[in-house]
Amino acid sequence: MSLPMLRNPILVREVDHRMRDNRTYAIPMVYILVLGLVTLAAYIIIVQTADPTYRAAEGWVIGKTIFHFIAFTQMGLIILLVPSVSAGAVTGERDKGTLPLLLVTPMPRLTIVVGKFLASVLYVLLLVSTSIPFAALSFGFGGTDLRLLGLTYGCLVATALSMAAMGLAVSTVMRRTVPAVLLAYGLVAALIVGSGVAEIALHIFFPDFETILFVYLNPFTPLVITIYEGVEMAQAHVYWWITPAIQLALALVCLSIAGLRMLSLRD
């Protein structure tokens, strides 16, 4: 982050604002609680369903299962939380009547976009970082390694970036917060559900098509791929990195849309 970026008044203001909002502390608490329950549930499930020929489930199985449970839960929480945070970034200013005040300052419009985007992303990264103790727990059991950890957290961050950018773009297009949040969730649903429907249609109409295409748009896809990694995914031409690559491209496109909209925004 360059020095001018650190001096971004919007970013400073947003971070200050979040630090004063009780929800900023309540949401991570709920987030950690959910992750804790999921970890406990994963442990109980794997121990209860362990192969009876063994006295206990092997540690690496427990560790890997906990890790995947945590990863899926986090992905779900990111998808649920980020659009609501970022889709109100600009519309919220309009609702409060502060948008014209920002727009008539000499501050470059891109500063507003970058500040709002980084503020949303930083908050999500805070949430994601709270899960690290749980991930460390799975390390204790074995079954995970640094590569899987990096890969999974990379996918989570890529999803957070794309969701934040998408919400921000929606926020610059819509005039009010509630419709903006609904549209952002609609787009997320389209990525998850719509991509699945499109994939099924693809394989119905082109039964000879042997690999996957549309489900790469689904943020959960790389997590599924990592579960089955080593089970001949490469031979099936299925790669975990395609989804985060798409998400980063989507984030750039959405940020460009947000930037262009802000440049032309009058009030």
Binding site: R7, P9, V12, R13, D16, H17, R20, D21, E93, K96, G97, T98, L99, P100, L101, L102, L103, V104, T105, P106, M107, P108, R266, D267
Partner: protein, 315 residues
Amino acid sequence: MSVEARTPVVVAESLGVRFGALHALDRVSFALEGGTIVGLVGPNGAGKTTLLRVLATLLLPASGRATIAGIDVGREPSVVRSLIGYLPDFPGLYQDMKVEEYLHFFADAHGLAPGPRKAFIAEALEASRLGDRADSYIEELSRGMRAKLSFVRALAGDPRLLLLDEPLSNLDPVARGEIMEIITRQKVKGTCVLVSSHLLSELEKICDRVLFIHGGRLIREPGEGEGTGESFLVALAAAAAGETGAARTLAALPGVQAVEEAGGERRFVLRLAPGADPAAVLKAAVDAGLRVVEWRRVTPTLEERLVRAVKGGAA
């Protein structure tokens, strides 16, 4: 007054804005100098806010152009924004911020270096008399305090043009007086202030000049630009037997430019031609058989001027 102050800060040339079929602004042209307070008055929906938004770079004109200190508002809005201060009719506030933080934020948004930023904050707190509330959250302030804070926020960056949309509305007389005092200080500093308000009695206390706007067009008062002499209120006694058409008789007197009914029976306002001798006009009225019971010089209020302009003004 300096030469710079006399140079037009704002020049609008045939500005036009349309919202669908509605002409929100229609061929609006004017020039405003620095160091002046200009009132922008007109009925609701006249185009006051639209004009202020165009000058604040928040609305692109469909036709015509406006410049601020020679910079085209439509072509170089980012430069113009460093020259203006804008107070919208419903200015939002970040309720969760403290007073000083709020000013600090907008100083940063104007790119002020630490020195000028500190000076701006100190000056703003002093002007708004919020120095003892600098550490208070905005949500704890009274309406008047919030209005003053919104107002001084618009002074960040030492603007050459202040655009104020209804800065006096919903305020008690004390708060109004304090805001008018700050406006007057800006004039002394050479700032051009364009202020819209429906509180005309307050506005006329501080304005050097008034722009009347109606139906998206700037309108002139009847007789404006033709040269106007003094105005006199004439009250006549009950009509004498056989007397008809007092107003017509008054209008026909030498030196009388216009006659308007002044409310009440047989009360009129005479506007004399430039250079006309009031004593001669009065004598002529008496000689014409009118029984004058009251004759006094009047200065029309801004409200009267607005009504007159809207009813009979020309574009």
